[in-house]
């Protein structure tokens, strides 16, 4: 089990009701972590439409969750 911080943005934050939360992750990788959080919060967006970042840099979905890290799920962007 790794305790880490998860950041939510845009529609994910609205669905989760919080901008960040501390979670106990037992997922094998970040993809599995998102899927478990998606189930908990009812996120509409599947993992295929997101990117993931760890500690402020884009990361790969097959990375293992690291204790103490800050994981951000990035829904499709719409700046400009």
């Amino acid at each position: 089990m790794s305790r880490l911080t998860v950041l939510y943005f845009a529609s994910l934050r609205d669905a989760a009701g919080v901008a960040s939360e501390s979670v106990e992750a037992d997922a094998a990788d970040l993809r599995a972590l998102y899927d478990s959080l998606r189930q908990r919060h009812g996120f509409a967006l599947p993992v295929e439409r997101l990117r993931v970042a760890v500690d402020g840099a884009f990361a790969r979905w097959d990375e293992a969750p690291r204790a103490g890290s800050e994981v951000a799920f990035i829904p499709p962007v719409s700046g400009g």
Binding site: A10, A72, I74, P76, V77, G80
Partner: protein, 142 residues
């Protein structure tokens, strides 16, 4: 030096343009995104941009560095608003100086396209009918 910035308030264009003036530059191309009064056939009342600031600044800077590497330009800047915006307000500004216009246009286009598709900024639109929505496009919006 930072070439990409986020701004929580409306900002002036003239000082940004002035940073790009150069005796080597014969061409200057710029792009601005303004808040439109409609989107997908719906009347828009206003909008809000939100960002993941740390990553947006890093990724925006990367986009501008790529533009400088790929195109024969002198320099470039991009500023994106965050927070609440009214119809007609400036949402994003891109400026590029270059010896020739071909590269100025190409780099300007590259910067706005990449910013829209990669930089973690999200648009929340409020519609005239009272509804509101986050925009999570399938592919970068036109």
């Amino acid at each position: 030096m930072a070439r990409f910035a986020l701004s929580e308030h409306s900002f002036e264009i003239a000082p940004l343009r002035a940073q790009l003036l150069s005796d080597r530059a014969g061409a200057f191309a710029s792009f601005e995104g303004w808040v439109r009064d409609h989107h997908g056939g719906r009347a828009v009342a206003g909008l809000r941009y939100e960002s993941y600031a740390a990553l947006a600044l890093a990724e925006g800077e990367r986009v501008l560095e790529e533009a400088i590497e790929r195109f024969a330009i002198v320099d470039a800047r991009c500023v994106h608003r965050v927070g609440d915006l009214a119809i007609g307000e400036l949402a994003v500004w891109v400026g590029v100086s270059a010896p020739h216009r071909e590269a100025a246009f190409a780099a300007c286009r590259y910067i706005i396209d990449e910013t829209k598709s990669r930089v973690p900024i999200w648009k929340h639109e409020r519609y005239a009918d009272g509804d509101a929505d986050w925009l999570h496009p399938e592919s970068p919006a036109a």
